[in-house]
Amino acid sequence: MSFKFDGQDVPVQAGDTVASALYRSGQRIFSRSFKYHRPRGLLCCSGKCPNCMVNVDGSPNIRACVTPARNGMVVRHQNAWPSLDSDALSITQHFDFLMPAGWYYKVFTNPSTWHAVEPHIRKIAGLGEIFENPQGIPDYEHAWMHTETAVIGGGPAGIAAALEAAAKGGEVVLVDDQPELGGHLRYQKRNASALDDQIAALRSQANVRVLQRASCFGLYEGNLLGLLLANPHEGAAERLIHLRAQEIVVATGAYETPLLFDNNDLVGVMLSTAAQRLINVHAIVPGSRAVIIAHGSQGEDVNADLRRAGVSVVATVAPEDVVAAKGFGSVSGLKSKKGTFACDLVVMCGPRVPDAGLLSQAGGKLAWSDARGAFAPVNLPANIFAVGDVLGEFSEPLPRNFPDSKRAFVCICTDATSRDLKQGIADGFEQIETLKRYTTTTMGPCQGRMCQLNAISVCSRDTGRTMNQTGTTTSRPPNPGVTLGALAGAKHHPIRRTPMHHAHDELGAVWLDMSEWKRPRYYNPNGKTSESEGVAAEYRAVRERAGLIDVGTLGKLRVRGKDAAKLLDKVYTNRFSDLRPGRVRYAVICDDAGTILDDGTVSRIAEDSFFITTTTGNLDFVHQWFDWWLAGTGWDVRVTNVTGGLASVNLAGPKARDVLRKLTDVDLDTKAFPYMACREARVGETSAVLLRIGFVGETGWEIHYPAEYGEQLWKALLEAGAEFGILPFGVEAQRLLRLEKRHVIVGVDTDALTNPYEADMAWIAKLDKEDFIGKAALSRAVASGALREKLVGFILEGKEIPEDGAPVVEDGIPVGRVTSSRYSPHRRAGIGLAFVPPEKATEGAPISVRVNGLLRTATVTLEAFYDSEGARLRQ
């Protein structure tokens, strides 16, 4: 097994991470720092610090130390040029005097200066770039889980807590981010047999589920935990688990953080727990000559581990005696008050910090204890518990130094030093939260894990406040960070197809996405028809012969019951109680502010049975709106969504009657079946509801019939129409046809404030009804006579048409806008709908419309552009 690192083969052993394989192969520099491009090596070896971030298979900022090495991976360095070993940009560290704390605010006070340098700064400072992954974008998935007890952390405390909870009989989920349970006992190689017994006991419990390699990135309201499970199965990069638990036990333990001294960031200066992981987990000898900085038992333990691995320990130095690490890039020695020791490895036993972020997110507080040298959680909310080292019950604080130096790095993510913090405090940012934002300390990829304690300590000392007065910065999820792909989840995009979808495909449909639906935009039967040619042919067919369009995406509701008419009178602005069975009315829904929400048709099939259509995207909304106004009324009304069960077509054109007559016995004569009538009848081999309506402005029928017959009747209609020259038509031709009739599309020709008067549909609001939704607001609008604007038609001579949304201009000021515009073959001119000031809404008024950047004069019309008397509809 091997992977590529910057083009070189790196051999992989079983259990290797990317970092362990690289380290074994001799790689010591893993990254270059954010600002000064200083070389950085392994520091924490546990996925917490920023030092080992690399690009893996195209994804940037992947922590090499916790990423399992896989055969064939492509790993690349980031933020260094030309290479990690010799980064030209490391020159920047010699200009640090130009980049003091808050230098952005101090230097770039002039916007033009900033715009000039911003692209260069972005190139120099920063993290990785995204490359295209030759294997394509990996899959991500989401899962939902519920449990009685969730235990976060699989160390000894977490295992004990899980066993205890399991003994009570409830379901337990144990979450651990490591490849093996055991926490610090694993990498410290202690109590191995007792640990294995406990893990075996845990695994034998049927009510315990263990999630390994799963990090918990957040604890949210309602005891919801966000988990990220790496490589849940072949082909899936990550699974995001939404885990809901009745009680949560946080057993996240404590982690080690760096000490502050000059050049504490040199390659070869690492935390003692990192050295232990290399030795005890990966069987790697971390160096040849080591100096240990330690106090107490951890120093003795790591000393034993180093010696056992064959590392020569040249000295153990107390933290307060450390002066500086020596070396250029990589460490070559440690200078202390007791002398200077040559070495290639400095092992720091730094202060431990309880990993209490989840407890803070749950609403717990952190309080500093001088006796323990730690911020420990207090005041935990109900059903949240903490066990083990996360409680911060350490035996003694670590004596430490806080030198004031431009090479003592507090924040290794953003290269903020103790001198930068001092400067920030001098500049007036003495609260930890403002100091954080000013110096960017704790704001890098480690999210404060490596730097928070040192930053608070420096701030506390320099401001003369206690640790508790200084306080901590806020822990927010996600921590650790979550890839955007995991949040986005699976690449599932719902698509709805009408029952005639495949028939459209056979006819060469060019598709248009409308909300979740696929609709034919126009038909390209021979593969050579341009959109304008196709639309023109379809337009001519409807105006001169016959056309057929699939309108199955319309929302369709059945409203039944004794009080059905009463409901419709309430939710629509016009009246339905006096609608006779067998008749259809256009209908508009407003809210109580008088704003148009939706439109459609209402057909009375029988005394207590109505068939309703809504616009394509608004079905669910309208259904919920009906149910809402019904809730608690006790009225006898049942609203049923029948959209999916019906196929719907609109057959229109001067020959539509001749086509339909071949398939039905119902009398289609205009006297027997007039405009705005509806009938239930058989068409072809199926039952159907026929509505004689005219959205496109010709004699026509909207036919609703069982979806099972969708394709069958569609094809039968086209076949019956062949002798008359019928064509299927798409959405684009329909939009042109309806625009010639000046029919509005709600949501296109109306906006979130338009009322029926502004939409020039005064007739639709029946203010003499006792009550309806919107009556009070519309009555006031009529009484005041004040309109914001009015929707009018306009004609623009010539071939050019304005874009949708183009401004209507008066004296150089936009006073209105075009909502729809097309070239009308009938008028041989541009036509459209536009909102204009009310005083411009008169027949023949000139308005200025911007077309292709120039102002053109258009003429207002309040008539339809085509057949304004509606004679053709009624033929």
């Binding site: 949210y220 309602g222 109580d592 919920q624 809402w628 809730a631 009324t633 006790g634 009550d771």
Partner: protein, 87 residues
């Protein structure tokens, strides 16, 4: 925001299964003064504490329910099907 709402039909479910329908407030009569309509249409009480609200269980039983929610803690103490307030 990830609290649970106990649906009278479906049991405790994530808030993401619901559509928020606003505060429960009486709709003025058609002849009510303009100020009252204005208040109803555009203003919210936004009570800090217990508030009765409309919720629609769109990913569940598709019913409008009413709920008593503490807007500070997001605890939902009681829910009922609209018109069937047990209290």
């Amino acid at each position: 925001m990830s609290f649970l709402i106990p649906c009278p039909n479906c049991g405790a479910r994530s808030v993401y299964e619901y559509r928020f329908g606003g505060e429960l407030k009486p709709r003025p009569g058609p002849a009510a003064p303009e100020a009252q309509w204005h208040e109803y249409s555009f203003n919210k009480v936004n009570q800090a504490g217990e508030q009765t609200e409309w919720w629609f269980h769109r990913s569940g039983c598709k019913q409008w329910i009413q709920a008593s929610r503490n807007t500070v803690t997001n605890e939902v103490h009681r829910t009922w099907i609209a018109g069937e307030d047990p209290a």
